[in-house]
């Protein structure tokens, strides 16, 4: 497509404002530096896109080029002047231009997704579902679900996360992954045990504190919290035992962590369940081999493993007799 000559201008980077709808607040130095080195050598080859509003230019596409131009103290940069988009168009443009190309972090995506939902609802008179949101923004349904988890947190946790993301990487303790994993686990806990719902904010605060102090050592530990909550249904663990264990984890006055509580409460049963599934598979396989008369085809290693299993099974039955 030919560029419209009338719309291509050379503008001072100082006349340009960042797009108010671009939710991306964190830029990595490495990615900016490689672009900057290229611009320092050969200039800006692809014009940035801007729109004009009240005598000011606002970025549509090219925030990294614009930042590099400012850092390099360039006088003018090429810019394509486009029509001012509506708020929804602008937001969707931000997603479609940037999110896919630059791998936005979840906070960035989530921070504007709520507004997209509101504008979409206003325009179409109904709430968009995950599929519609996915089509409009170019995000996967999984990404949208993760964003929803962040969005559903009270606003002060958004601020907490943003403050954390502004810190140098080495000083960041709470990540988006932390909040996503924690929220997913807490959602499961609340669904199974609604009695924790009124205290949810205190629980979040405790878990954040325990994570910061290293009592909870990994974000993936939250998956064990969810497994504890579902163990009443899936494993038939006593409900009071699980509730008691969760209270321990959620209490502020102890150093109880998720990993140890999981181990002492449900880990054995989960391992047993896993072993049973493998045993069922093995039993079915052996039955099939016998039925189909393929015994000679079994190799020695497999037969040796079975013999070992047989010895252990004998010991187990004798001890249980």
């Amino acid at each position: 497509m030919m560029l419209d000559e009338k719309k291509l201008k050379h503008i001072s980077p100082d006349e340009i404002q960042p797009n108010p709808e671009n939710p991306r607040v964190i830029f990595r130095q490495e990615e900016l530096e490689s672009l900057m080195t290229s611009i320092a050598k050969i200039g800006i080859q692809v014009p940035i896109s801007v729109y004009q509003d009240n005598g000011k230019y606002y970025l549509l596409d090219g925030e990294r080029r614009w930042r590099c131009a400012k850092k390099l103290n360039l006088n003018k940069i090429p810019a394509l002047i486009q029509e001012k988009p509506t708020e929804l168009e602008n937001l969707l443009l931000m997603y479609n231009i940037h999110a896919l190309r630059e791998q936005w972090d979840y906070y960035t995506i989530a921070s504007k997704l709520q507004r997209i939902i509101e504008l979409f609802t206003k325009e179409k008179k109904y709430n968009p579902n995950e599929i519609e949101l996915s089509e409009a923004t170019g995000l996967t349904r999984g990404q949208i679900r993760r964003c929803q988890l962040l969005l559903n947190m009270p606003p002060h946790y958004h601020d907490l996360l943003l403050e954390e993301l502004k810190l140098p990487k080495s000083k960041q303790k709470l990540s988006e992954d932390f909040f996503i994993e924690m929220e997913r686990a807490l959602k499961t806990v609340i669904n199974r045990f609604p009695e924790f719902k009124p205290k949810i904010d205190d629980i979040r605060t405790t878990l954040i504190e325990k994570f910061r102090e290293g009592v909870i050592s990994a974000v993936t530990d939250f998956r064990q919290l969810a497994k504890m909550a579902t163990s009443v249904q899936t494993l038939g663990i006593n409900q009071d035992t699980v509730i008691g264990a969760l209270h321990e984890v959620f209490a502020t006055d102890n150093m109880t962590n998720i990993k140890d509580t999981f181990k002492s409460t449900v880990e054995f049963e989960y391992d047993e369940q896993k072993a049973r599934k493998q045993l069922v598979f093995l039993t079915e396989y052996v039955e099939e081999v016998i039925q189909d008369q393929h015994i000679e085809q079994l190799d020695n290693d497999f037969m040796n493993e079975l013999k070992e299993l047989y010895i252990h099974l004998k010991q187990l039955f004798e001890a249980n007799a």
Partner: protein, 279 residues
């Protein structure tokens, strides 16, 4: 408006600025954030402020040597302003090779420590005073090893304190000329009284008119002029901003000039059987 270029930049800027405000008694109005220092320098530092004798410019970076320094270096060297450039990074991101690179270019480094305090890790100097190491080594070629060694010590001082470095260099010249005078007295080319006069007079009243030195007059005259220009430069305070810039710029010129004059003097003295010596 902020132009964030490194992760954690805003956090580090606030810590660093509050540190410099305290150290140099600056107000917010003294701090220029993301502004150009000069139209010909392709770099807007994270912030800079003016001092009596220089401009101190800072770049917040995720590592000690930000790429923008490579881009801006040549332009800063040519702009007629005493600009001291510092990188600021967190303490845990220090990398020895990058620190060495900073030093080689005349840049300095501050670190933000885990307890959010600020420390100076490496002194920076006004870049117009900076002499890159490889250029210094090239310029020292052909000098006797001992003199080269002494110049190296002086260069190490110059790298962080250019005016003291230049002063040390003139002291070295004096030591060399004293030794040359001794050798000439021993050869009975000069009277004993030559040993008791000032450096300038040794050169002007004794060595220059000495008939044995007739083939070395231009290098002796060069050394006289170097001594006259730089011997007491450190003690003279500049009276205007222009004088200040000239003085700062002179440091680099003087240091290079000193080496050049010594080389010519060495070559001429060698011709007449005198060896340049330093302790």
């Amino acid at each position: 408006m902020s132009n964030v270029f490194a992760s954690g930049e805003e956090y580090q800027i606030e810590i660093a600025i509050s540190y410099f405000k305290q150290i140099y008694s600056l107000s917010e109005a003294d701090i220029h954030r993301n502004e150009a220092i000069h139209k010909d320098i392709p770099w807007r530092p994270s912030f800079y402020f003016k001092q009596k004798y220089s401009i101190m410019a800072f770049e917040i970076s995720e590592r000690p040597f930000p790429a923008i320094f490579y881009t801006a270096y040549a332009s800063i060297m040519t702009v007629h302003q005493p600009i001291i450039v510092y990188s600021i990074c967190t303490d845990e991101n220090i990398k020895a090779n990058e620190v060495k690179d900073l030093q080689r270019h005349g840049f300095g480094l501050f670190t933000i420590n885990p307890d959010s305090t600020v420390s100076k890790f490496l002194d920076g100097i006004p870049l117009i005073q900076h002499i890159p190491e490889h250029e210094f080594l090239d310029e020292c070629n052909d000098l006797p090893p001992k003199i080269k060694g002494r110049l190296r010590e002086v260069y190490e001082i110059y790298k962080t304190q250019p005016q003291s470095g230049l002063s040390e260099q003139t002291a070295l010249v004096e030591e060399i000329v004293n030794n040359v005078t001794k050798q000439m007295v021993k050869k009975a080319w000069l009277p004993e009284t030559a040993l008791k006069v000032t450096l300038a007079n040794k050169l002007r009243q004794h060595i220059l008119p000495c008939p044995n030195c007739s083939s070395a007059t231009s290098s002796i005259a060069g050394l006289i002029s170097f001594v006259a220009d730089y011997r007491n430069m450190i003690h003279h305070s500049p009276k205007s901003q222009k004088q200040l810039y000239d003085k700062i710029h002179s440091c680099q010129h003087g240091f290079r000039e000193g080496i050049k004059r010594l080389k010519l003097f060495n070559a001429d003295m060698k011709q007449i059987g005198i060896t340049l010596k330093a302790t």
